[in-house]
């Protein structure tokens, strides 16, 4: 991360702080020194101290403040396809979306499956990223699902999770990965999809796929791997995280596993609690993603699971693609959508609909993902001693998500041109503004 200038002291005042890590949901002032939270207190209480240390004032009046969001599912494509997305562009998009930490998926070329690559990614990120980058290593060599990657080496070099970001077909390999990772206290990330069941499918199987004449992917393709991995987890007593959960059936299995005390966490992505396969009616390839957009029933079940704890976090599943890879028929288009800059607004939809409390939202976006990475002492909260990574946003302000304002190098979003509510005003990492610095109040 490029913190070129040494962070000065900051006095953030006037904002409404939502920080479930210290059960705070109300007005608060923050004093930040050397990039770390020095004090949190009720409005006005830190004024004298701020004056003593000559802190710059950040005006948070009328805004919400939260610990910076931590994204467990973000594709950067550096190294390998920097023209699609790189640390510079991805981190700008992250900052614009309120994310201060991203877990870079092993969608690199060469594949991030060894410690040299972990080093390289961290070095590139240090030089070019505006936000904190945590590398996720591949589970298998070359992401081929055949032999274990050097999990220990990657962990020692700074990787905080391993997974292939694709289904591991071989149950034996999945079992061994779960066992092996225990030595390094790394969670295994599972992307549940049975490739045989998914077949050549391009959208959720159901009435819409029937009507549109597109091959379907049944929910069972996801649920069967969720079930398998939970059986393996029960057997290995390891740590497992599910990426991109999209079906009600998966939630039932995860709920049961949690009741039984297994160490399992799970995420869903804004696409799945915001959209359904109904959106595909015009064959717009920007709605194509894997797993596919599901039914209304699944969408409602996901929202409920975010609230009741079956799901632990919201990750963006930011998946940039080129224009030509989307200007194809639905069948041939590459799946995925950019999401870093729309995640907050879409999540706030659930808050406005009273499906999530503001505190639960911050748990899902900041605290829980930080915990899953084992980083909760530093990020995901703004307690004294935590890194001063935070976002200031206006939950009521609307904006049109126009092509010109997109910070990502890609434009593949189904929300392009749509009016969204909930606008990030400023994002700080280590007490330094990485997006929309606030005017100082003298």
């Amino acid at each position: 991360m490029n913190s070129r200038t040494a962070p000065s002291s900051l006095y953030v005042t006037g904002a409404h702080l939502v920080d479930p890590s210290q059960k705070w949901n109300g007005p608060a002032d923050l004093l930040i020194e050397r990039g770390v939270v020095a004090a949190v207190d009720k409005p006005g209480k830190l004024k004298a101290k701020a004056k003593t240390v000559k802190a710059d004032t950040v005006d948070g009046d009328g805004l919400h403040m939260a610990p910076g969001f931590v994204d467990l599912n973000c594709r950067v494509h550096e190294p390998g396809a920097e023209h699609i997305e790189n640390f510079e562009s991805a981190s700008q998009a992250a900052a614009a979306g309120g994310f201060t930490t991203i877990l870079a998926q092993p969608f690199t070329e060469p594949v991030h499956d060894n410690a040299f690559m972990t080093d390289f990614i961290l070095r590139r990120a240090k030089e070019h990223s505006h936000v904190r980058v945590v590398p996720m290593g591949a589970l298998s060599h070359g992401r081929e699902g055949k032999k274990l990657a050097e999990i220990g080496g990657m962990a020692a070099a700074g990787a905080r999770a391993v997974g292939d970001s694709a289904a591991v077909e071989n149950s034996y390999l999945m079992r061994k990965a779960l066992e092996y990772a225990r030595a390094f206290q790394l969670p295994i990330f599972s992307f549940p999809e049975d490739r045989n069941l998914a077949g050549q499918g391009v959208m959720n199987e159901g009435w819409n796929s029937n009507r549109l004449g597109l091959r379907g992917i049944p929910p069972a393709a996801e649920e069967i791997i969720v079930a398998r991995d939970l059986v393996l987890l029960r057997h290995t007593r390891s740590r497992l995280h599910f990426q991109s959960i999209s079906t009600a059936g998966s939630l039932r299995a995860i709920r049961l596993a949690k009741e039984d005390g297994l160490v399992v966490t799970a995420e869903t992505n804004p696409a799945y609690f915001s959209l359904t396969s109904d959106s595909i009616a015009t064959y717009d390839a920007n709605f194509k993603c894997f797993p596919p957009l599901r039914s209304e029933e699944d969408k409602e079940a996901l929202a409920a699971a975010l609230a009741d704890g079956t799901l632990d976090c919201i990750a963006s599943a930011h998946s940039p693609q080129t224009r030509s890879s989307k200007e194809q028929t639905f069948e041939y288009a590459t799946p995925g959508m950019i999401a870093l800059e729309t995640t907050l607004a879409l999540t706030l939809e659930l808050v406005r609909a009273k499906k999530l409390s503001p505190s639960r939202m911050v748990e899902l976006l900041s605290l829980n993902p930080a915990r899953i990475l084992g980083l909760e002492d530093k990020v995901g909260g703004l307690r004294e001693g935590c890194q001063a990574d935070f976002v200031l946003f206006d939950p009521k302000a609307s904006f049109v998500f126009e092509s010109e304002r997109v910070r990502s190098a890609a434009r593949n979003s189904p929300f392009l041109g749509r009016k969204l509510q909930g606008s990030v005003k400023a994002t700080y990492v280590n007490g330094t503004a990485v997006y929309g610095a606030r005017k100082e109040k003298k």
């Binding site: 390839a285 030509s324 200007e327 028929t329 069948e331």
Partner: protein, 307 residues
């Protein structure tokens, strides 16, 4: 004919009046063709056909229809997967074609929704000659014309469609048209080839051919495309023929005046016995004849709407 019709992408979007207008135009041309083979409705115009999938009948039918209306006809063959791998998008290809100033584009593509993608980027009228498993509107129109010739009207008729419903654009377009025109539709095939939530189309689903044939006025047999990864959906051609094929034994279950249709190309001995395909109840060649007339009707109607 309402002015909003610029393209023919599918039957699902058409109103009953629009369907009737296309059918009426087709019937008129069929009658006129008895006197002359050449018209000048499209003289000076160019019809370009872009086919991303092999076709003999549909392509030839569009070519004949265009030429009989006096248009020039240019055919372009492309392969969906190779052009994707070369990096040229379908949209790029179509923009290049449009730059040559044709007046109509006839598109066949292996991907459902390909014409919907094109009309977002092109100004000229687009006629869907079959997209993936989605729609094949001119096939449904020529089928309707053929049925009406035999029975007078579609309303109240019982139509049974047999075969690979899941991967059939002919089935989908026919279902939309027949339901809109008041016919009753039953689809029949092995459960592996019937897509989920089929009943939402307002059709009956039967897994046994004898059940599906009972009371049917029209039996449409679909081509079984064994090449399309069907090896895990049906065990073999011979087993398919035994349970879902139309042969003398199953034909005996049909009503006396019921007709047999097939969009072609036939797999003799897979979905239909040779003697049945060539038998007295078969109207398969009438379908082909009507195909030219209906496509002339479609082109002329779209030209009229544009002018």
């Amino acid at each position: 004919m309402s002015a909003r019709i610029r393209h023919l992408l599918g039957i699902e979007d058409l109103s009953v009046e629009e369907i009737r207008a296309f059918l009426a135009a087709g019937k008129k041309f069929k009658k006129d063709l008895e006197g002359t083979k050449k018209f000048d409705i499209l003289s000076g115009k160019t019809v370009v056909s872009l086919f991303y999938e092999a076709s003999t009948r549909t392509r030839g039918s569009f070519e004949m229809a265009s030429k009989r209306l006096g248009a020039d006809f240019i055919h372009m063959n492309a392969d969906a997967s190779s052009s994707v791998s070369k990096g040229e998008t379908l949209v790029d290809t179509a923009r290049n074609l449009e730059a040559m100033n044709p007046d109509f584009l006839v598109l066949r593509h292996s991907s459902s929704g390909a014409p919907q993608l094109l009309v977002k980027h092109l100004r000229i009228p687009v006629i869907n000659a079959g997209d993936g498993f989605h729609e094949h509107p001119t096939q449904a129109l020529l089928d309707a014309m053929t049925i009406e010739e035999k029975f007078g009207a579609l309303k109240g008729l019982q139509v049974t469609i047999v075969g690979d419903i899941a991967h059939s654009r002919v089935a989908r377009s026919n279902i939309h048209l027949l339901k809109k025109m008041g016919a009753k539709v039953t689809v029949c095939g092995p459960p592996t080839l019937i897509p989920p939530e089929m009943e939402k189309h307002g059709v009956k689903v039967a897994y046994r051919l004898d059940e599906a044939l009972k009371g049917a006025d029209v039996v449409m047999m679909l081509r079984i495309q064994f090449e399309r990864q069907n090896d895990k959906q049906i065990p073999s051609n011979s087993e398919y023929f035994r349970f879902y094929g139309l042969h003398q034994e199953t034909v005996a279950l049909m009503k006396k005046d019921a007709i047999i249709m097939h969009p072609g190309p036939l797999n003799r001995g897979v979905e239909i016995a040779p003697d049945v395909a060539d038998g007295a109840r078969s109207v398969i060649l009438n379908q082909v004849t009507n195909g030219v007339a209906v496509r002339m009707g479609v082109l002329a109607t779209l030209e009229e709407a544009r002018a």
